[in-house]
Symmetry: C2
């Protein structure tokens, strides 16, 4: 069922455009996946997501496992039915949240013992358990359980995390008896090229439907992030989709597409919208700024999103300052639309053989955040 | 421009169906007006309001005057353009909030001196100022500034408030030089029938486009509220629209329509939605209830609202317990749809000569709130 086809490649960079075929429909790459942590992309309806151009969304295994729990979601034959989203869903393994959000009790080869951040209840997340939960969620793309190491980290610790990740990946593959959905491996290895190489090599031996680069955007300088992505992406087979996890700004996405990445997810467009920070083609603006008090123009004149077609900066500022619920939604619509429009433009440019020009133009217009 | 036409009357009760013509289109009565305090019916888009059956909404003069202020709204030629709502808008006078929400400094014949609940700034609300603000908002139905007295109240205090209300009503009428929009007077007089009679008599002498009954649902027992409405509504001319302010439950609305009321507003459907309390034909349910944990059915099976067509009680419970923004919106859609559907059914029943049967059936099915 799962399939990946490249339909166009840039001649001068590693950028490519493709089609991911999943059990819930096709996804055009490069693609950005809005984050729907708890079975909802915060404040948006599924219909709005589609209007914004979303094709695939991300669900968080850790959160959904704790709340509402697999027993509830099983009644709906998975997350799609539960949340009224018929398109493809990728789920993370839960590992990242166990290591960052939960109270971690103990990590062994067996798995990670943790306490829920909600009620303190104790749970064990093993590779097998992670796959089981993700299959219960009906995920179209299942991610292997990994240990994502923070930056900076010692080489020894990084290598230990990577070796655990490889062992867990093997067990995920064994546990994953499913022909409908896809299983992706995650390359770790921190900021050490030889470890990244080792990780990629070991994962390729196990053989996955796609590969993610994990452990980026964990606190390292931007240059180093791009350097590691530049080094790691070519280690992965070009016939398979390549996914950079948890990244990033619009600038990051353009740069990483040039390096050969196909898939992205990040909370930036949604979280920043709820903080009043809006993305535009000439940088970010904060909608609470006093200069928008009487501004009858939309966030961005040429933007075709629902928010920009119908509402002014003055109204959005008023809603935001008044903490009105509609504020978060209208802001989120704009930011998600902005991200989806960006990857659509990248794809079109690649298909038309104009990617380099697009990239050049993009970085000329894009300014640093104006907060 | 403003006009009211009765198209059907119940033979055995005072219920009637009519058409209000306003500068922003027609409204079919009996009608319920969702409350859009700050230029937004909390969590809903204007398109969703229309889909829910809303025909006219209410804006709060006190809130909009303080935030964003008339200088901003004037740039949009009024509230319609500012908030992207093209239908009719009724605005209150601001009086109720000045007396209930602001820090009241002094009430004289001239007006009410108050401090903003937001920043403590001092403002004077006079009848002329209230009309001026409402016309700046572009309100289709402007309400006279009144003094609404709490329950219980002494007769002397009630009479003083009523006399002030009458004087202010006269000044509102003088200040209201406008042929496009309508001006409504508000009958006060608390729970004293002779005072209600005096108030109605004096207002009729001034002559308004429509009449509201204020000072109900301010703490008095339900029976007394209905008794006062029953007494007051026939004092008002049948050729004019009659509006019961700030009321009420679905049961109240059915009872009051039988007594001859045409218009209603209340925060119940919207506020209760945000507290998880959902209206159904057999009483209210609280969506956070544990019995809905695995419930794959919608809030109400026969309901045709967006929420009931697409989401289960289990999902709504999950969103609500997770404090997800989508929860408030999906709940509000259902409750507003429920209220709009109720008044539509009342209207249809009146037009078909079946109002009494409908009312009987309604009270047979309607249970007390099950919290």
């Amino acid at each position: 069922m799962f399939n990946f086809k490249i339909i166009a490649e840039c001649k001068t960079t590693r950028a490519r455009a493709g089609i991911l075929q999943t059990a819930h429909g096709e996804v055009e790459t490069p693609i950005f996946m809005p984050v729907g942590t708890l079975g909802t992309v915060k404040s948006l309806s599924p219909e709005e997501l589609i209007t914004c151009g979303a094709q695939i969304i991300l669900g968080n295994t850790y959160h959904l496992y704790l709340r509402p729990g697999c027993d509830v979601i099983r009644r709906f034959n998975g997350l799609h039915g539960f949340m009224h989203w018929d398109g493809p869903i990728l789920t993370d393994s839960g590992g990242f949240q166990v290591f960052s959000l939960a109270k971690l009790r103990k990590v062994t080869i067996e798995g990670a013992l943790f306490q829920s951040h909600i009620d303190g209840s104790q749970h064990m997340l093993t590779p097998e358990k992670s796959v089981e939960i993700q299959l219960c969620l009906g995920s179209d793309i299942v991610m292997c359980l990994d240990e994502c190491i923070k930056y900076p980290a010692e080489k020894k610790d990084t290598q230990n995390a990577l070796e655990l990740t490889t062992q867990w990946a093997k067990r995920c593959k064994d546990a994953f008896k499913n022909e409908k959905n896809a299983l992706f491996g995650i390359v770790q290895g921190g900021m050490f090229k030889d470890l990244r190489e080792m990780s990629a090599h070991d994962l390729l031996n196990i053989d996955f439907d796609g590969y993610a680069v994990g452990g980026l955007s964990v606190g390292e300088p931007k240059d180093l992030m791009l350097e590691m992505a530049d080094f790691t992406l070519p280690l992965l087979p070009d016939t398979k989709p390549k996914y950079i996890m948890g990244v990033g700004t619009p600038e990051d996405i353009v740069s990483l597409v040039a390096l050969g990445a196909d898939m992205f997810d990040c909370v930036l467009p949604t979280r920043n919208a709820r903080n009043g920070q809006m993305f535009t083609n000439t940088g970010t603006i904060n909608i609470s700024n006093a200069r928008f008090k009487n501004d009858i123009d939309p966030i961005e004149s040429e933007c075709t999103c629902y928010t920009c077609r119908n509402y002014s900066r003055a109204y959005l500022r008023h809603l935001y300052l008044s903490k009105e619920l509609l504020a978060y939604r209208l802001n989120t619509i704009h930011n998600v639309h902005f991200y989806m429009n960006l990857v659509r433009q990248l794809r079109t440019a690649i298909c038309n053989g104009e990617f380099e020009e697009f990239k050049k133009e993009f970085f000329k217009n894009s300014l640093q955040p104006q907060l």
